[in-house]
């Protein structure tokens, strides 16, 4: 009966773009017409509300729902731009122990009846918060920067997805996808940054999207708008939109940002450097 898909957006390392990716992917999925809720699991350090532009509308949060202090529908904030997009914020004040295994299971179960996609924005690290965020996942989106510490941490997280999720424990498969963010094609081309192929070869999970380092993503966060809504024609927005279509089962090929400068400007940039 439950057709809903739970997606965890995870990375191990902090600051790689989990929250902006959750917001952008969530909005992109909602733009395909699906009922979507993004859930902030970063208890104590909530930020998804800010990136979604809903920070002044938070009344109740995930912990309130778990503790029975609020009903799910009271805590959920409906997006003002897309009425099939919702947010369940994290608590800012409680300590992480407030997040319980049974509590999370109950909330996710209740949400499965109401939404097509539930996106769980994982906290950084490999502690309880991160394992609870991935616990019920059907799909794991591993956000990775083309940089050694991020790739190493992603490898750890993939190991956890394969062992600590409910699906893994039931011998079922969690679909895993790689989302490369902060990619700089010029530096990758010069051999100064790991290429997408390098990261793919090392982590060996299918590629979902490559989002270049971009002003549009920062601007979107500044304005409290997922980039797919704020700058829909930007490269980043297209990457997330294609990622969303891929998640819904469409056969979309992944575009890898290229160094588009002409041969002469490349030559002179090298000479100058």
């Amino acid at each position: 009966m439950t057709m809903a898909k739970v997606i965890v957006v995870t990375s191990g390392k902090g600051g790689v773009g989990k929250t902006t990716s959750t917001a952008a992917l969530g909005a992109a999925l909602a733009q395909t017409g699906k009922q979507v809720c993004v859930v902030d699991f970063d208890v104590g350090l909530r930020n998804l509300d800010l990136v979604m532009g809903a920070e002044r509308r938070v009344v109740f949060d995930l912990i309130n729902v778990i503790n029975g202090e609020a009903k799910l529908h009271q805590a959920i904030i409906r997006d003002k731009r897309l009425d099939n997009l919702s947010l369940l914020p994290a608590s800012q004040t409680r300590d992480k122990d407030a997040l319980t295994e049974e509590g999370v299971a109950g909330v996710i179960e209740e949400m499965r009846d109401k939404f097509d996609y539930i996106l769980c924005d994982s906290p950084a690290g490999i502690e309880r918060g991160a394992t609870l965020a991935m616990r019920h996942a059907d799909i794991a989106v591993v956000v990775t920067n083309p940089e050694v510490s991020s790739v190493r941490d992603s490898d750890r997280i993939i190991g956890l997805v394969d062992s600590k999720t409910q699906k893994a424990e039931n011998d079922e498969r969690v679909e895993k996808y790689l989302l490369v963010t902060r990619y700089d094609p010029i530096r990758a081309d010069k051999g100064e940054m790991l290429k997408v192929d390098d990261v793919l070869e090392i982590l060996s999970i299918p590629l979902l999207a490559v989002v270049p380092e971009s002003q549009d993503v920062l601007k979107a966060s500044n304005l409290g708008m997922p980039v797919t809504l704020g700058s829909p024609n930007s490269y980043a927005a297209r990457a997330y939109t294609n990622a969303a279509r891929k998640i819904t089962g469409e056969n979309v090929s992944v575009e890898i940002p290229q160094d588009t400068r002409g041969i002469f400007s490349k030559f002179f940039a090298r000479k100058a450097a």
Partner: protein
Amino acid sequence: MRFLDFFRNKGGSAPVARDRLQIILAHERATLSANPELLATLREEILAVIARHMPIDRDKVNVSMDRGDDVSTLEVEVELPLEGGPNPLHVAAE
């Protein structure tokens, strides 16, 4: 030479990053994922084989593994009971 460098992609640090990652991750995957269950299984099976031939104390069997870049070692340490001492198998059988 600069002109030739333009056609060759050399001098970048990314290949070093890739190689270092491949080495460290091969090491970590082996120690982090395979080890706990593998060691417990090895310990039980080694214990069973030895116990078939001589009495041993279950707590005095130690199995450890160390994976290195070049050499990996499996260390099995079994402390045998003193000769002429009480035979735990015998005692248990009685």
